[in-house]
Assembly symmetry: C2
Homo-oligomer: 225 residues x 2
């Protein structure tokens, strides 16, 4: 993920056909369609805030894209979220790992991935806007859940900071290619290729304290990646 | 991932048995055994560096734990890696997503995850130490590959910054429990439970330009998570 490849076409998620021979492995770009597709496919973002002494902190957070912004939420007790609410400069990065790329050389070995970086400052939402954002966050992670689960009480809403980070300054990098070995390495007797990496959902497991015998909701059984 | 739960026992990776009824969902701690287990199970870290104006940047990177430190490597052409080599304060975070936790209430809904955060400053390695670190990085991501693939040339080594970040200041947070609904919510007619999330490897796909018909190496077919 760290090595610098040359630019190429954006990823088509899930497209790993052997027939697609593209030697260039990466694209760094600003295509909002690609940015949105990556943000919509992820579940966890990594969010940074820097202390006054220059020390950055990177925390995993749930998030959701909502049009031209990314929503996050956290506890009013969280120092990081309070700093974000106060307008601290932040970076939100979402990375999807798609495969291990085994080149004939160690140097050209890498990963298939899609990663979006958003820079800027977040805005604290309140009132109806915060409520709608809370619903959007829930629906991104757990589609169908907002209308089924018990929605937040005023006390719970008061304990939650809901923030919006605009997509004004964002970029996306996609690596979806094949090994890019030097010509001199192509005849080495070393297997080369890609080992796909996928994130999958297992079978739903009922809570031990579940009362009655409610079935797993249809909206949950339909979740898939 | 963002909500503040109460402390509990550390995760036993892969242990999601229904019989394990533990209402507390999280542990924040400094247990090096747990830190090491999470670092050893991950493939991608998120690494932050902050510019002079206070703007943090978070990049996905390959990494490996090597005893009491974490290794990363990047291009000499990368501004972020040059800043790290110059001793900029950094944060390296590794997060493993293990499940979606569907509580009866939206507020208590969350994720199962394991996350390690390492704070500090990296040191630039050179000579034999950089060589050994390069091998360790390769073996973490692709066990067995270092001795099979073509190893780096002096020119490739010169183009690569290999850095070590000590584990002196690190913490781990684990959420591996069940929904923690309020007592008043337990009788709601809402299904509650966990949808496991797993990262899996697909079948190896040979590079389109692979010459001859070498078999997939045994060390690759043995990879599993």
């Amino acid at each position: 993920v760290t090595d610098g490849h040359s630019p190429q076409a954006p990823a088509r998620p899930g497209d790993t056909a052997r027939t697609r021979v593209r030697r260039g492995a990466d694209k760094a770009g600003y295509d909002r369609g690609v940015v949105d597709a990556v943000l919509d496919a992820g579940l966890v973002a990594h969010l940074a805030v820097t202390e006054a002494d220059g020390q950055p902190y990177v925390l995993p957070v749930a998030y959701a894209r909502d049009g031209d912004r990314v929503l996050v939420h956290g506890s009013t007790g969280s120092r990081l979220f309070r700093a974000l609410a106060d307008g601290a400069p932040t970076c939100l990065t979402v990375t999807l790992l798609d495969g291990l790329v085994l080149a004939r050389s160690v140097f050209e070995s890498s990963m298939r991935y899609r990663s979006v970086m958003v820079l800027g400052r977040a805005t604290l939402l309140d009132g109806d806007e915060a409520w709608a954002a809370y619903a959007r966050l829930t629906e991104h992670l757990m589609p169908g859940r907002w209308d089924d689960a018990r929605q937040p009480t005023p006390k719970e809403r008061a304990a939650t900071l809901v923030l919006a980070l605009p997509l004004d300054e964002c970029s996306v990098k996609v690596s979806d290619g094949w090994p890019e070995d030097e010509d001199d390495d192509l005849d080495l007797p070393v297997w080369a290729g890609v080992v796909p990496v996928r994130t999958v959902l297992g079978s739903p497991e009922p809570a031990p304290d579940l009362r009655g015998d409610p079935p797993v909701p249809g909206y949950v059984t339909r979740w898939a990646w």
